[in-house]
């Protein structure tokens, strides 16, 4: 597998400009001759579809939901970063770049991250122009809040609904292009295969989720923006439909899968409370602006929180990480919470929770101000837990949330398959081993609004394309495979439901590959997952037919892919002989339990290459070269 990251030479500050200048352009009249498929309508796919259509390309856009407006980006709560430095608190493009590289524990590419910081300000400008109602100060200017891993206030937000508002902005731009006829929208479609002709990505095969029909769609290039795979843990903060299927099918067609073991566990979620539970709800990191995290000092303390006096509480984040306090990054905060619970200081009925307490903030700012800042989150908490967080501290615990890993892409966001581009959470590009809060929205929109419209032309103008119709043998082959798989799932007629298998998989992944990993447990997990997978193919029951809306069948396909993908995730975790960011192998830690990196041997992107059914994938690596920043031990103390 060739891994040429295609990073332009020269100073960091001018790489992006130089790259755009060096890439060939497609003249406006020729843009009409190209068709581009975009799979996904989240922030990445929605913004890409709209921007490519504005340029004059013919775009075909697909999503699983009934409307592009419902992609899971809609659920993002807290905010989006940009280096505007409006608060005059010392921010800059360089600082946003540096914080993001450091936050990722020095496992991402300098050039990509710098570009992200550079275009961050353009995103805010564009979103304001689209009419996104960001929070404002009394003078009418934009407001900011703080997020984890930063000591400046650079996060823009729209109450607790930032993702919703940004997505509705991208959606409205997309719908404008649908109205112009420049985008054809295909909702309720699930991509089940990528089609290659002469080694180039030339189309996709999708299932029409209403009629069950298997459809073929051709294009000159395919853009995947299909989101993350956190649902491999079953319980996660992601939507129920989030999946690895599209990315995994592309992997099987030759796209490298990068750093699959970099999965983020978010520190502030509502704890697990029953086995009927279908998802975990995030309580935005923005709450840590004003909320203080604590546990009782004494182990096994069963008093109610209000009965525990101040001096018997351990505000452990403030104690261990005094300079970042409650705003320590996610990986660090999550592990700290786990450690507290492992030591027996956890609270709540299961002992797997810590308090997030607003009493001090309510006293300082008053309840109305807290309600204005976080009202919808408090309401969400109360609906689920039936306790009033204005009066009783919230109980929170870490949960699977985000995938830093994803399909490998070069600087132009092209995968190892020519003509297959990958954007947003589906790629691996910018967050290294740990993503900082409010930077996924930034990355999704950077990729879609500003990067892909400037890089796809290089590929389209510089490649030759054979005439391809949907009658091409490659499509026929792919359809046959897809249909065979669907039929097989329906024919097993076993004794356990799809959800049941998914829950089993999730339990294994969480127990053995969650916040603390060891070689022994990872190896054991591989065996356990293989057993679940084997049983799945013998004993799953998928009711209904393939010729109409069949949600069990949709789910079965996704869970089948998760079961296969999980093994690569585990392999990757075993292969990374260090701890970094979210990946914490207990064999590699400092005396005070922080992650211990190995920059000499492990400063690389691990890229897995499909080697055939039931064969171990091939390991490749892209070395990470640091020219502009000095690798440092990450400290938030």
């Amino acid at each position: 597998m060739q891994l040429d990251a295609k990073i332009p030479a020269g100073p960091l500050e001018t790489k992006w400009e130089k790259n755009c200048f060096d890439l060939k352009l497609v003249n406006p009249a020729n843009k009409r001759k190209f068709e581009i498929i975009v799979v996904g309508t989240g922030l990445a796919g929605g913004s890409a579809s709209a921007s490519l259509a504005e340029l004059g390309y013919n775009v075909k856009t697909f999503c699983i939901q009934d409307s592009p407006r419902r992609a899971h980006s809609i659920a993002a709560q807290g905010g989006i970063n940009a280096a505007k430095n409006y608060p005059n608190d010392g921010d800059s493009v360089w600082r946003l770049f540096y914080d993001t590289i450091k936050g990722g524990d020095f496992r991402s590419r300098e050039a990509n991250v710098y570009r992200l910081a550079q275009v961050s300000n353009l995103i805010i400008d564009h979103c304001v122009a689209q009419g996104i109602p960001f929070a404002r100060e009394y003078g009418g200017l934009l407001g900011n809040r703080s997020f984890g891993g930063a000591q400046v206030s650079r996060t823009f937000y729209a109450r607790g609904q930032t993702g919703q508002q940004l997505l509705l902005g991208a959606y409205s731009s997309l719908m404008r292009q649908v109205a112009r006829g420049q985008v054809t929208m295909f909702p309720r479609r699930e991509m089940l295969d990528l089609v290659l002709v002469d080694g180039q990505a030339r189309g996709i095969v999708v299932r029409n989720l209403i009629t069950g029909e298997i459809e073929r769609h051709t294009a000159h290039a395919v853009v995947l923006a299909t989101g993350g795979y956190a649902n491999v843990f079953y319980l996660s903060t992601n939507g129920m439909g989030c999946n690895v299927t599209a990315a995994f099918r592309a992997y099987k067609k030759g796209a490298g899968f990068a750093n699959p073991c970099f999965t983020q566990i978010h520190p502030t979620c509502i704890p697990v409370h029953g086995d009927y539970q279908s998802k975990l709800t995030l309580m935005s990191e923005s709450l840590r602006n004003d909320g203080r995290v604590w546990v009782p000092k004494q182990t096994g303390d069963t008093r109610r929180p209000e009965e525990i006096p101040e001096d018997e509480r351990d505000y452990y984040l403030e104690r261990i990480y005094p300079s970042f306090g409650n705003l320590a990054p996610r990986d660090i905060s999550s592990r700290a919470a786990k450690r507290m619970c492992d030591e027996g200081k956890g609270v709540g009925p299961t002992g797997r929770a810590v308090y997030l307490d607003f009493a001090e903030a309510i006293q300082r700012l008053g309840q109305p101000e807290i309600a204005a800042r976080y009202g919808n989150l408090f309401q969400m908490y109360e609906k689920i837990v039936a306790e009033n967080p204005y009066k009783t501290p919230m109980m929170i615990y870490p949960a699977s949330h985000y995938a830093m890993g994803g399909l490998w892409v070069d600087y132009n966001l092209m995968s190892t398959i020519p003509g297959l581009f990958v954007l947003g959470e589906a790629n691996f590009s910018d967050h290294g081993a740990n993503r900082l809060g409010a930077s996924a929205l930034m990355q999704g929109l950077a990729d879609g609004y500003f990067v892909i419209p400037n890089t796809i032309n290089g590929y389209l103008a510089g490649s030759r394309f054979a005439e391809v119709t949907d009658r091409h043998p490659a499509f026929k082959e792919s359809v046959a495979e897809v249909v065979a798989k669907v039929k097989r799932l329906l024919s097993i007629k076993g004794k356990r439901t799809v959800q049941d298998f998914h829950r089993d998989l999730g339990n294994i992944m969480w127990e053995y590959c969650g916040m603390g990993r060891t070689d022994e447990r990872l190896t054991k997990a591989r065996k356990l997952v293989a057993d679940v997978k084997a049983e799945f193919w013998e004993n799953v029951t998928v009711p209904g037919s393939r010729a109409d809306l069949n949600q069990s069948l949709e789910n079965a396909g996704r869970v089948a892919d998760f079961l296969e993908f999980a093994d690569i995730l585990l392999l990757d975790a075993l292969a990374r002989r260090e701890s970094c960011g979210c990946h914490f192998n207990e064999a590699f830690q400092t005396a005070d339990h922080e992650a211990l990196r190995d920059d000499v041997n492990m400063s690389h992107v691990a890229v897995w290459e499909y080697a055939g059914e039931d064969k171990e994938p091939i390991f490749n690596k892209e070395p990470l070269v640091y020219e502009f920043v000095k690798l440092a031990t990450r400290s938030y103390k």
């Binding site: 409307s67 592009p68 659920a75 929208m185 069990s552």
Partner: protein, 255 residues
Amino acid sequence: MSSKSINLTLKVWRQPGSKAAGRLETYQADNIPTDASFLEMLDIVNQRLTLAGKEPIAFDHDCREGICGMCGTVVNGRPHGPERETTLCQLHMRHFKDGDTVVIEPYRARAFPVIKDLVMDRSALDQIIMAGGFISVNTGQAAEANSLPVPKDKADLAMDAAACIGCGACIAACPNASAMLFTSAKISQFALLPQGRPEAAKRALAMVACMDGLGFGNCTNHKECEMECPKGISISNIARLNREFIKAALVSQEK
């Protein structure tokens, strides 16, 4: 949280396809934990149906935290069920009593045909947005964000309107199946912001014309939409739409 379980009788609309006839089927839902959400209750029922060799109930959902707008059926005659400002996925079973009978149906509106069971086609809402629910700005054209201050009270009102999740409950609640609350929320968001003013007249005329053309009914001020909206979108937006529309119809050249 203190979890108990309750037993319920469900009457669920089952309809195999858009052209098929549908009817209410009765199911016994026993041992439902009160800490489960309404959709988790349906998951439990579906697991049992599947294991009994029957087809599970099809229903739309995704985020399960009240923001994507994908869920939403009529529960005991009310879209999203009995709790105020609560989507179906956020409704928890503790709001039901042991022995209750719960009737679950899709929205009944001409513009929202049933696809299967509780799953509806709500693409008419996308069409209303296509007609003008946007600001015409291409990527790259924007001015520096703070070059256009927006009074905070206006920005806050715009955000109140923009909180709409597009679930369609307002239409299901309205005796005329009017889409005025949905449409007015989008028109208001943009009408309140200086960025949205240049196209305000055109937008109001186009979106209202589209809405009328899609078979939604008229607004006759029943206010049920506001009552049932899971996001508390205010009917003052409808008044704003009417003002915008009249202004546009009177003075705009874009008729």
